[in-house]
Structure formats: C-alpha cells, structure tokens
Subunit: 426 residues, 2 copies
Amino acid sequence: MSGLKELVLEYGKRARGAARQLARSSTQQRNGGVEAMADAILAAEVDILEANGLDVAAGKEKGLSSAMLDRLTLTSKRVHAMAQGVREVAALPDPVGEVMRHWTRPNGLQISKVRVPIGVVGIIYESRPNVTSDAAVLCLKTGNATILRGGSESIRSNIAIASALSKGLAAAGLPAESIQLVPVTEREAVSHLCAMDKYLDVIVPRGGKGLIETVVSQARMPVIKHYDGICILYVDAAADLAMAREIVLNAKCQRPGVCNAVETVLVHKDVLRDFMADTGAALAGRGVELRCDEETYAVASTLPEVSPKSVQARPEDFDTEFLDLVLALKVVGGLEEAQEHIESHGSRHSDGIITADPLLAERFLQEVDSATVYWNASTRFTDGGEFGFGAEIGISTDKLHARGPMALEELTTYKYQLRGTGQIRT
Amino acid sequence: MSGLKELVLEYGKRARGAARQLARSSTQQRNGGVEAMADAILAAEVDILEANGLDVAAGKEKGLSSAMLDRLTLTSKRVHAMAQGVREVAALPDPVGEVMRHWTRPNGLQISKVRVPIGVVGIIYESRPNVTSDAAVLCLKTGNATILRGGSESIRSNIAIASALSKGLAAAGLPAESIQLVPVTEREAVSHLCAMDKYLDVIVPRGGKGLIETVVSQARMPVIKHYDGICILYVDAAADLAMAREIVLNAKCQRPGVCNAVETVLVHKDVLRDFMADTGAALAGRGVELRCDEETYAVASTLPEVSPKSVQARPEDFDTEFLDLVLALKVVGGLEEAQEHIESHGSRHSDGIITADPLLAERFLQEVDSATVYWNASTRFTDGGEFGFGAEIGISTDKLHARGPMALEELTTYKYQLRGTGQIRT
C-alpha cells in the first residue's frame, strides 16, 4: 500500500462494495451475522486480551490516569459482556424494509416510502475498546458497512476486536469488509476519511471537543455530532421540593461522569432557602461541591450543613460540563429567566423543569429547544436503553437526521419506490 | 455596519431571535403570516417590477442568454402567480406540533416524539427571483426563520421581494426578521454564512455544481444538497415497448431542462432493434439527438428515420446531465449490467425499469440505491407536487434528513418531551 490516503480510499471502496451486498441481505442473514460476531469475539478472547495487555502496558508507560486505564482495560468478564452485548442486538426488531408510508396518486401511481440502510457509516472514537463492537454491530444490524477509527490508546485491542468481527461475518456468509478498522494512529487518517464523501455517507465522531471540531471543519459528508451535555434543571416555585431533591440528587450523583448528568440547577427565588436547606444539604452530604451565584451563596453561608461545600461561582462555571461531583447553582425570578439561561448557557441536550404547575411545565416542554425536555424527571433518562430503543450508538446533539438517543432507526434512511402502469407526466 | 462578516453575523443573530418567536407561534398565526406575505407581494408589485427591470437591463448588458433572461424576467402576471403560489401554502396541512410517536415506559415516564421547526434555514440559490418567495414561505409555514442569499443577476428583484415579505410578516404580527435576504453580491458572504453554525441550523444550496461544492467544503452545519440528476431508464427484454416509448418520450422531451428528465436509456440487447425502430424513430422525430454506444449505433445506422439524429457516444456522454434534447443510449445484457451502469454513472436521483416482469422489477426497486426508483413510469414524477406534498423546496440528492422531494415535513425536526412524576434512574 503506497500511502495513507490510498489505504483509506481502498477501505472506502471495499466498504461501498460490502454495503451493496448488505443492502441485498435479509434480516435473518444479518441476525445470523450478529450471532456469528458474538461467537467470534469469544473465540478470539485470548488474542483480544493479549492485544489489550499491550495497550494497557503502553498506556501505563504514557502515564494515563487510572480512570482512563480502567476504561481501557479488558478482562475475560468484560470480553464476555462485550459478546453478550453484541448477541442482544440480534433480538432487536429490524427497522430496514419497513414501509413508512404508502399512498396512491390520482393517476394510479403507487408511492412507497421505504426504510433502507444509510450505506457506509464512519465512526471516529476515542479510548474505550468496546465501542468497536458496539458501533459495528448496530451498523451491521441495519445493513450498513462501517469504517472505524479508534483512538491510539486502544489501537491493538481495536484491531483484535475488529478482526474477530470480520471473521465472524465471513463465517456467516456476509462480506468481511462490512467492518473495517483503520489500523493506523496517524491523525491524517481522520482528514482522509473526512474527504472521502464518495465512499462515506455519514460520519459519527464520538469523543472530545477537539476531535469533533476537526471532523466538523473537514468533513464533506453529513456529520452527526455527539457533543457533551451541559444539562440544566429548573426548580420552580411550585415544585414539590422533596421530588426536586430526589431528582437533583439522581441527576447529579448517580453517575456524574456522563453527558446526561445535570451540571446547573436554577432555583426560583421564592423557594431558594427551603431548597438549599433540604437539597443543598443533601448534595453537600453526598460530597457535591456547590458553585453558587451571589444570592445562593449568601443563603448557603447561613446553613452549617451546606456552607463547607459551597464556593462562589465564577462566570465560566455556568458554561462548564463538570462531569464530576460539582454543581453550579443560580437563582432565577421565574420561567422566562430560566429559559433565557438555558438558551444562553445550555447545550440543547437534556433540560428539565420541576414544578407542580402543569401550564408552566407545558410551556417549558414546548418552548425549550433541546433534544430532550423533561417535566418532573431526572435528566439521566436520555439514553437509548432507557427510551426502550434497546441499544444506542450515542446521543446526538445535532438537530438533523438524528436528535437525542441515536439507535437502530437513526442508522437508516429511506427511499421512494414508485410502481406504475405506464404513467407519464402531462 | 463595519464589515461583511459582522453584517452576516448580525443577520444570524436576528434570525435566531425570530426563530425563537416563531417556535412559539400557532399554526393560525403562521398561516396569517403567509396570507399577509401574499398580500404584500401584490402591494409591492410596482417596486418589484421596477427592481426587476433594472436586473434585466443589467443582465442584457452582461450578455446573459435569452433562456437566462427569460428565467430572470418578471411580469405583472408572474408577480400575481408568485403571490398565488405563496397563498396556496397557507392551505397546506401544518406538520409542526404533530406527535410522531408517544409511549409510556414501565416506570410510568411518558415519552412523546414531537415535530418542531428546525430553527434557522439558510438558502443559497442562483438566478430565478421567485425562489425568494417560494423558499421563504415554506420555511415560515413550518416555523423556521430564513436567511436567503440569491444570485447577483437577480439581486435587485430579490431585495424588493424579500422586503415585501418582511413587511407582510410585520403586518401580521410576526417578526419581520423571520425572512432576511443578504443584500450583497460578494462571494465572501457565502463563506461567512457557511462558518456561522451558531446561528444557521442547516444550509440548502440550490444552483450549479460550483456553488454546491463551495458550500459543501466550507459549511460547518448540515448541508442538504440539490445536485442535478443523471436519471437513467432501463428498458428490459420483457418491456411493453409501446409503454417504453411513451415513458422515454415523456421523460426526455416533456421538459428536458429539469433534473428529473432522463439522460441515459439502457436497452436490453434482445429488444434493441425493435426499440430503436419504434422509440428511436419517435425520439428522432421529436428532434432528440441520440448518442449511441457502438452496438446501438450499428442498429441506428440501418434505420433511415433514426440514422440522421444518431452519433457515436463518447465515454463522457454517460456521465453528463444534458438538460437538453440529447439522450445517451447503451445496450446491456440484463438487469445486473443495468444496475452496474446505474451505480457507476447515475446520480442516485431518479432511476427506473420498464418491464412486464414483476420479480425483476421488485429486484430493481429494492436494490437500486437512488432517492426515487421507478417501475413502469416516467422519472418526471420526482417532484413535491406530483408526490402530493403540495409544494417543495427542491429535490434532495442527499441521503440524510431529506431524500428526494423536500417539502414541509423535511423542513422540520423533532424533539422528545418526557413527562414524569418524579422518576429517577436506578
């Protein structure tokens, strides 16, 4: 292979060929492929663990944090869980082939809008090696070929996993090139992928802002971004404060490092003191650092249980995804002010209102322009599994094609089939 | 206003503000806005015709072709048709607010997938001034703000039309900034629009390849491309040849200058002679120049009615959108070969099979990866009006979000509304 660009183009051509074959495959064949992928992961367990051991050793040498090393590390148990995750996808309903709409025109022409695979999906991701199998299996299930480009930390693990998946597909009579991993760590590989609109129908970057920015500025094909979330909850004057406490605690503490965890809570001025005395104390008790605006800080300072965990917020705290046991707090005068804050500082991911006033809640649900808007529930439900979608490839922060949890349906597109009896246009 | 970039950014900010207000408007309010836009066009007839007269004079001086001058020229009749076209949009059903899906999770959480406006739509187009009102009204109907950037030839007409539309909106109590036309002809304006992903949610380029290429390579937001069409018909051995004749004549001759006109016909070798003697002669009789591959040319040469209009095709003829009374002809051995040609040379816009064999037809409909696939009908039906959509903003040659005729529904997106009673994630 002469150069990196040629290599990536070669992957593209092969993926396009595989996608054509996949488009002609049946649900049963693809489900067989999914089962074979799961079997192949188990069969390759030794290879995968060996490759992963080298990645982990290299990561230690590079000085990766223990959290990162933990995300990188595979064990026999984790490999079995990976295979099980793949197998479960076989049981999900197949969206491909669904007739989304069918109608007959006055001239007798029959029009069907039919769900079809997108074609070739590019996935660019960082770190966790199980994204390799998670993403590849969802694409395969929906008849798409995939080109994967993982992070350099897990390159050996990714190669071993992708190689097993391809073998599984071949064993099931499906094209091995349906899943291809770009086996190089050069950053230029991403640029070459972004230029290849002839062979890549969509590109899904999953990772840090830097990676997503690079892809957005270079890609010639549609990009479905998975930016992080600055999720915001508004505790209204008419909120049930016990409910507010449980929701805020859950949204902040149940898993602080994920994109649907809450980062800012806006509190109506009329309930500020009661909220701080109850929820503020509960948060402090759970070890959450409270970054308070002036008014909130003044109240916090009078509460001995809250005060030690409270600091004065800097302006940037309201634009930060902490991904940690840190929460920004701000007082607002009402719904309008809460909405303004969400519009200016939120990330249009998941935002909610806690109130017993249904009219106010409905205004919030209608007017706030976020992928998911909540009334009286934790933002942690923004998740394909929690929505009942069975699996997800991520949470799209884009508005077009896929918004919010991106699952099997969002990995498809449609075409129109027109059946006539000689109709011509007059 | 200091510079062009600042001007474009200012338009973006205003559009975002208008979009927020539009998102809160009712169907009734927006339909009132549409009616007011139609009234305002009529009220501004003199201004519009005067501005258009200046554009036409400038166009003549620049040496525009008579076809281009005709597309540019407005008359009183055309202005009234423009207003009528706007008015008809008021009567179309409003997709915004539709509950696309509603379900309840085992924990009682209610999830609604609701259709909402996209936000701010950028439209970059060339030449015909009535695109200004056509595009703006469809966006307004669906609750979107629009930033328009038309071609330099019709700049004065576009300014007059957009100004009338804004006045109409203001009269109806909707934000005048819902429709803004960038009133400059500098090419850099397009680059500034393409960089403004904070204020533009999607950009729709309508025009030549050069314009679309520029937008694709620069845009940071989703682009919905409207590339031209190299539409292909395959006349199978089992085709009803009289039907094939009528379909091919219609698809080529009814309006050769549009994107859904046929550009290449593939003919099964077993019916080549009969097809050429009948359809070939009919096409020649309608003045169509036939660009024939070797075998087709050999047959054409033996037919006195066909021979004078036949020439030997060059390879590039099979990759050309003629938009004229020119047709490329090629013999194929069967469905597989036809599909290979369509995959290699088509533009995935509108392709069809003419056959009496339903199994073959269904294979074609399933396997050919084009926005619209036809069995026994003219490709000229790829059109929002012909589909029954009432109106269209164009024909998308993209695969994501909008594919094929792009109408009101395709100018919307969705969000998830979650209604709970205190649900938290465990």
